[in-house]
Symmetry: C5
Subunit: 322 residues, 5 copies
């Protein structure tokens, strides 16, 4: 539990030992930002809910994570839910629940530990930019913007992964390649399901004439909304690429089968007639004049060579030999 | 036929011996909940319909089950149809028809036996939460919420089933695997067809300014609506997974064919030339000098071994041997 | 040409010998229902059009069948077009054109012979239900309801047909199976093209505040609309099933090819090495010591048996033998 | 350049030698129809544009053909663009640009030569129907209706072509069949791209309350709009059929491969074991007692026949023999 | 940095040495067009932003390229983003950021070097057309029109590329063909993602009643909007073609496999029985009367020829021989 309270001139930052310690800050500052990192202490969350007048259902949504990104207007505050991406090998999301009131911003993060707000805290501390001069809506915008922009590096990672798989599909497609493509496709779908409602939510912030966001901040939010649209564009592009890789993989499996069958056919087509000829002169008829010719054996061997060369020439002309 | 009548202070519960026994309860209680379990006694249903002033068409929809989830506003009541999921191996749904009036809630369940309302009855009996203090709209919300939340465990079961099938597809795909995938796909589609209109219906409860649902309850219903949207999300995700499994299955069939054909080609390619050589020295020409060489036989056997080794080396380099 | 004229108390029914014979009925009865069965007598249709004040374009739509289901409001009447299903093996539709005026209902059926209105005529004759007491809008509802409900048995037939084909696909897929699946798919598409605009048309009857349909009847039409939505649901489900059958068919063709190739591979893999060994000892070298061993022949035969058994064991372990 | 000027009573028709010759007709007649056939004489088109007060951009759209069908309202006229179908083997369209003013209709056709308006000219000349009595909006409707109805014979031709290809796919699918299916699919897509905006344009004529089309004519245009919807329906149906043909073609290619592989497998499976047996008795061991049996040869031949018969029986039971 | 300032009568053109040099032009001319080519000098861009009163967020969008095409209304100007196509082998886009104010047009191009505005500059210089007489909105239209029309030659290039690939697929499909098709598909998708929002943006310029675009110019923009719709049409058509090529490619791979397997089957089917017969007469039984017949050898050779001819006849009748 971390509190930052600030106005254009003053600024206080404090770790809260308990929920009650928030008392002295209430309604004393132009902007009060209370950030709760991790949802372990349900009792404290309930207490905050009471103190800030949060509806029990909204609190439930804070605690039962896996909500879809959304914006819900209440009388005294806006309730915003977003999914933050966590750094790491696996795709992992964390729910951010944000309450924007007249003079406070409450944020609840699903898991304790690293978030993407360090820069914002710095800007508040050092009074960089317009954040200290602006209201809680601008802080909300900054937080949402950080959440949205955090999607881009993840998308880049997936772009690189797709290029890796593409390389693999073209050079030596293996059975695991298919699984990798499907994994990427599923992750992209998960991302898409997180981003679409996020875009919707940001759009509803733009549209609605709610009293918590002033016109000036809305211009900034429009920028944030644009980013979410771009994320969706990249996602769709990536999904299309993944789909194309799948097709290429399947077609390359088909191509390799073709190649194998060609080898089979070439070998069979060359050796079957030769073996047949050898078989003929292996017959035990008493009256086979060729067997007694002095040049019989070399003649047969010669015609076999001619037949084999003819076959090879035929396959070469058909383009089957490589 | 089960009656629960309650207000903030009082509470009565009774099994009805006949439809007429409802008489004394009418218009005497803040909230009257009549639950009819099973649609066998059509006569009683008609009587209830008359007593509560239900339109004959709505009653018909109660009796002719397999209606789509919907909300129909009438002058004196709301008519709500939902599909409840039944526990069990197979996917099975049961129609819940609900009438919400000014001071009553009528529910008709398709089949007698277990429903998912036990907890709600308990809360009424023990006066837990705000249910006794609230009106029939809050009871309606509680019932709908129970119906919606009952979808989640079923979805979880399908999630597990999909994981099972995925295991099967990867390790040893069989012919029945395809049927299982299609079964799951069809069930998910059935669920989807139940949930989409349910979402629509819940949304219409939110939007419309009907006199039966007060503003406070609408906040709760919004939560219920959110759940229905999450169910749809999970369903779509599962369908995507099922689709991916189908593709993996088909590609694994293709892969196995590839493998079989490789074995065929390797065997043919190795033994055809060898058999041909053996055939040559099985010919009965009188003038075949090699046949008289003392080292002819070992030489031929040696070259055969060399050829076989060469072929194996070639296949090994091509990656066909494993 | 059949006339039914009725009010709450009176009722007259008559076959018209000619178009002019309708004269005495005009504007004399609360509800006048004129049904023209078959569009052969274009002259009579034109006469009716004049007498009831129908726009020439609407009359043209009556005669040029294959119109999409639609509702067109005119000043003095509503023009409704529906597609009725005909009983029979093949999917066949017949256009029903209906004009709903202030005190009359005109219906034109494409083909003479059986329709699905027998029950409605009976209800008028015997004064069952509320039909005699209600106006022409209720009669219109009854007719539309009969048309819509007539789709359900046809859908059931297609459901059964799909089950038949499913059986066929699983047990012994043949070439005709594919054609049958495509036939069903096309029929379902045709049905869909008939039902979607029908749903639209019914919806427009619900929405629009036209003077020809009173509020009470609209409640009934909502029921009829619900049925049309259910028909669409069933159709979509059936199409999905047909699509799944197609996939299963294609995959089963693939599976059978796999099986055939396995047989080929097993036979080749067992007999090629054996034939090669036999070929070796068929060579005519003078110096082949094995040929003179007394146990040479049994030894070779024994090792051949061992090789064959080894191959079979290998295929068994790979699961190729059944 | 062809002028028809008419009112209920009078009628004049003239070929214009030059653009200026239109002068005497201007604002003298209830309806003036100037038809320019072919866009070669750009100068004349510009002059007409000036005389009728056409916006330069609209004139540019007249000259730069390949516009999408559209309706653009200007202050003094409506600008309508349609795509007319040309008769002929190949699918070919021609742009019709139409200006509807208070007392004139201007039409520009892309190519000189046959159009589908002969019947309309006849009706004007012979004063058939209501065309002479009506205003320029009715003439516009007649022209649009002629354009729309001209799509039906083309669609019929494609329907027949699809049937031809279907026959071909079922009886003897060849490589060109695939190309033919794709050609038809592409043509249908081209048609679809022409008809969809046409439908939109006609719909906008219906909806908008423009002063150029009186209410009565709008009823006629609704009919024309219905036709465009039907064209779209037929197109969708045809595309679905083409798609089904593609699937049938691919599956029949697969089936034929299956057949070829079956022949291969049957031959191999029968002759490999027999050849092996022959190989055994071709071995040159000194101690092979069977070789000296008098019945050795017939016995071996008999067992070979038994083996072959057994194999055939097996394949017959498996249904591989036809 | 290039400045063109003009009115109906006067005209000045100048390369700016530094950002400050714009000062004398401000608010002195009916239309001031400042074009910044390349985004290297961020400081200058910021200065321009200040001087023209541009919002910092809009400036950020100018610098951070890869924005989606969009139109954003601000109080004192419109902010328009487009993607220009660059000439060259590869598909490459460059962001054009345009600010339209009451008496100025600011354009920022991503990369220095060639743009598609040469003709517009010429028209200004030589006072061709209405550009000098019109306001900055007409200049904006001219610029957007140039950007949009620049898509057509690129689309034509893709059309030609598709025809090339089609030729390749039909005559000699290679492995790279698949990659080429996918490359084209991806490029078309990229184009589509650039054009769709462009269409949206142009449409919003048409719709909104903003004070920066007068009614007359809107007519011109409608034309520009039409072009963007046509581009989308062509793109969709091309994507459909690319999709069809993919299918044709896959089916041709399948066809070639068929051909290979046919060769294999024909060879096997002809030579297996012959080899078997030769094997029979290679057996060493003592009692094989045929071996001693004088005509034994020719008889066997004759029957072999008959069998081979029969097989060939069978394959010929089946149409396998070419």
């Amino acid at each position: 539990m971390h509190v930052m309270a600030y106005g254009p001139a003053e600024f206080v930052e404090q770790e809260l030992p308990s929920a009650d310690a928030i008392g002295p800050f209430l309604d004393k500052w132009p902007v009060l930002w209370l950030n709760v990192d991790g949802l372990g202490d349900v009792e404290a969350i309930r207490k905050f809910g009471e103190m800030f007048g949060i509806h029990p259902l909204a609190l439930e949504d804070v605690i039962n994570v896996h909500q879809r990104p959304k914006v819900e207007p209440y009388d005294k505050y806006l309730f915003i839910v977003m999914q933050m991406l966590l750094a790491g090998e696996m795709l992992d999301t964390e729910q951010l629940s944000l309450f924007l009131g007249g003079n406070f911003v409450l944020t609840f993060q699903e898991q304790p530990g690293g978030d993407c707000f360090a820069q914002i805290r710095d800007r508040i501390r050092k009074n960089h930019g317009r954040i200290r001069a602006a209201g809680p809506d601008y802080l909300t915008y900054s937080l949402l913007d950080a959440v949205v922009d955090n999607y881009f590096p993840v998308l880049e990672r997936y772009g690189e992964r797709l290029e890796d798989v593409e390389q693999e599909v073209v050079t030596k497609p293996r059975r695991e390649t298919l699984a990798r493509i499907h994994d990427i496709k599923r992750d992209l779908l998960t991302l898409r399901r997180a981003v679409w409602p996020m875009r919707e939510a940001l759009n509803s912030l733009l549209r609605e004439d709610n009293p918590f966001i002033i016109r000036d901040t809305r211009t900034y939010l429009r920028d944030c909304y644009d980013h979410s649209v771009r994320i969706i564009d990249i996602l769709e592009m990536d999904r299309e690429t993944a789909f194309g890789l799948l097709e290429t993989y399947l077609s390359s499996v088909s191509n390799r089968m073709n190649e194998v069958i060609k080898v089979l056919t070439i070998i069979t087509t060359i050796f079957m007639p030769l073996t047949f000829i050898a078989g003929i002169y292996g017959m035990n008829f008493n009256h086979m004049p060729e067997l007694n010719w002095p040049w019989g054996y070399p003649l047969v061997m010669g015609s076999m060579a001619v037949i084999a060369a003819g076959m090879l020439h035929y396959f070469h002309r058909k383009g089957w030999l490589g």
